[in-house]
Subunit: 332 residues, 2 copies
């Protein structure tokens, strides 16, 4: 675990680290952060890179962070909505997800044969042959971004009320990018706020959230910065979308150093979609214009990993201010 200096908390500091060699001695002498998390029992191996169990302590930290994010909505006109970690495939296809991020999408397939094809399935599995002949796409996919299910639901309610809408969202998400880096999990949780209304309302919402995120990072005593960012659009055409997104400053990220020794980790994002989703799903303002939308959300596992990295593996000895920010009396 790194010890924390005043400089790291106040400013923004990316360690320059040489590429590690992974021989066995090195693993014992200089374990990676992932190896440390597993050895401490905070994460639990499932045999699949990127997919881990979580201990009670890890969950307490995630819950504290989620509550802290959610507290921003207190006293505001906010609707809490919760969706399961899978969503309508049709809705995700309408969003253009296959076009933009096909390599990350987890589609849910199911066996739909009879007893005879079931015998064939089992035989293929036994013989390590292709067993997918009678395994077909279902109507659901793993949710890749917590807010995706919400736009269609809001469109179905008709025009927005005069003040627009504010929705509080939380979900497990899946991105199929196997990795042994702790910050790149296959399954992770997002807590988000979604805003729908006029362009001015969305921009004000995003500005407010960026300032609030900076404040949260001071409370949590985590070094951080805000940077212009882009989504990982696929392929050569994706490059144009990346350039355009950055040029228009549609996406900002909350960047925290420490979890990955080589680069900062995006732990939150502040997005202005313009009319992308509202045109697709026909979300209108109360005056009948196409609404604009935006969302500000956080990766709960990445924030937890940052806290464990900077404050150590035992929340009982975290700085008092951090404990008071996350929990009223737990780990007191």
């Amino acid at each position: 675990m790194s010890t924390q200096t005043e400089e790291q908390v106040a400013g923004f500091n990316v360690a320059e680290v040489e590429v590690e060699s992974f021989d066995e001695d090195d693993e014992l002498d200089n374990p990676t952060y992932m190896q440390q998390l597993l050895a401490a029992g905070l994460l639990i191996s499932t045999g699949v890179d990127g997919l881990y169990g979580r201990s009670q302590v890890f969950e307490d930290v995630v819950e504290g962070i989620s509550d802290l994010i959610g507290a921003w909505g207190e006293g505001k006109q906010v609707e809490v909505l919760r969706f399961p970690p899978a969503m309508s495939r049709q809705v995700l296809e309408e969003s253009g997800y296959w076009a933009n991020f096909p390599d990350q999408l987890g589609a849910v397939f199911s066996f739909c044969g009879n007893e005879r094809s079931h015998q064939r399935l089992l035989k293929c599995l036994d013989n390590k042959e292709d067993w997918t002949e009678d395994v077909k796409p279902t109507r659901i996919v793993m949710t890749p971004v917590a807010c995706y299910p919400v736009y269609g639901v809001m469109a179905a309610r008709g025009p927005l009320p005069p003040g627009g809408r504010l929705v509080d969202i939380f979900s497990y998400c899946c991105r199929y990018e196997p990795s042994n880096q702790p910050e790149r999990m296959l399954m992770f949780r997002q807590r988000e706020f979604v805003r729908m209304g006029t362009p001015a309302q969305i921009l004000a919402f995003r500005d407010e959230w960026i300032e609030h995120a900076k404040l949260m990072m001071r409370w949590l005593q985590l070094p951080s910065s805000i940077g212009v960012a882009n989504d990982p659009f696929f392929g050569r055409t994706g490059k144009l979308l990346i350039d355009s997104q950055r040029e228009q400053q549609l996406k900002f990220e909350l960047l925290i150093p420490g979890v990955n020794p080589d680069k900062v980790t995006a732990c939150g994002s502040f997005n202005y979609h313009r009319d992308k989703f509202s045109s697709l799903w026909k979300i209108q303002t109360d005056t009948g214009e196409t609404a604009h939308t935006g969302c500000c959300g956080f990766g709960l596992e990445r924030l937890a990993l940052s806290l464990f990295k900077h404050h150590g593996f035992d929340p009982k000895v975290w700085p008092r201010g951090v404990r008071e920010t996350l929990w009223s009396n737990k780990y007191a």
Copy 2:
């Protein structure tokens, strides 16, 4: 919403109802329970049968139930473990899930082509042709039962301690059985306790939980009964497994009437696996014998649906005892 009689609370009462006709007038005059839940905004349509958003009130009830179940572990030597809603495909295959329940399994597939095959994928989607050529099985599947990821993890730790192990588990689960019955959701949550140890330890655990479940139902003022049950093993060979499971009384269920007008709904189950999982994954007792295992778990959505059915859609006016059981001060 049904009004509750003393008799219903005390005993067990399945309504005899004729098969409904689904013409439009009928829908308006006599909405189904599902239609009522959607109209009240407790559940939110996603366009896919069996997949729903949840309101804040619905989530408060689910959280209250989950806490109530978890409270059984207080003061006991229990380890809290949380797994994401997807698990290792290899582990699920080792469990025999493809052989026993192939029709319910949601396997996660992902696109793994290049830019050229990506163009083909998009064209097929546009033309409504088979788009699955370059979409292949990943190493994960949707978790079908919350406790499945835990056995391998425990086996990896070596022999059990002398008192065995007790684990507290919670997860979203997926069973791909599309239905418009509210009690048959594609995605739902389970809270479970898993016990590993000697046969006597498992049987004592199961007996204790059956009695505790009856007590919980009295606190929640829900009519219920306990019945011998079986898992829905697939096909003709499955019938033999069903007979054997029932004959050995390996599975009991907590049955609650009301949500489905035609039959009782299984809202919990109390399972003795004998050495099925411990032989598979090599879980041994401290004396080197093959351990036995069991699990007792509840479907949180089904319990919530039962509470809304029997006590109405507004928890603020639920009987005081029920509110005190679920929440210390919410809906007071």
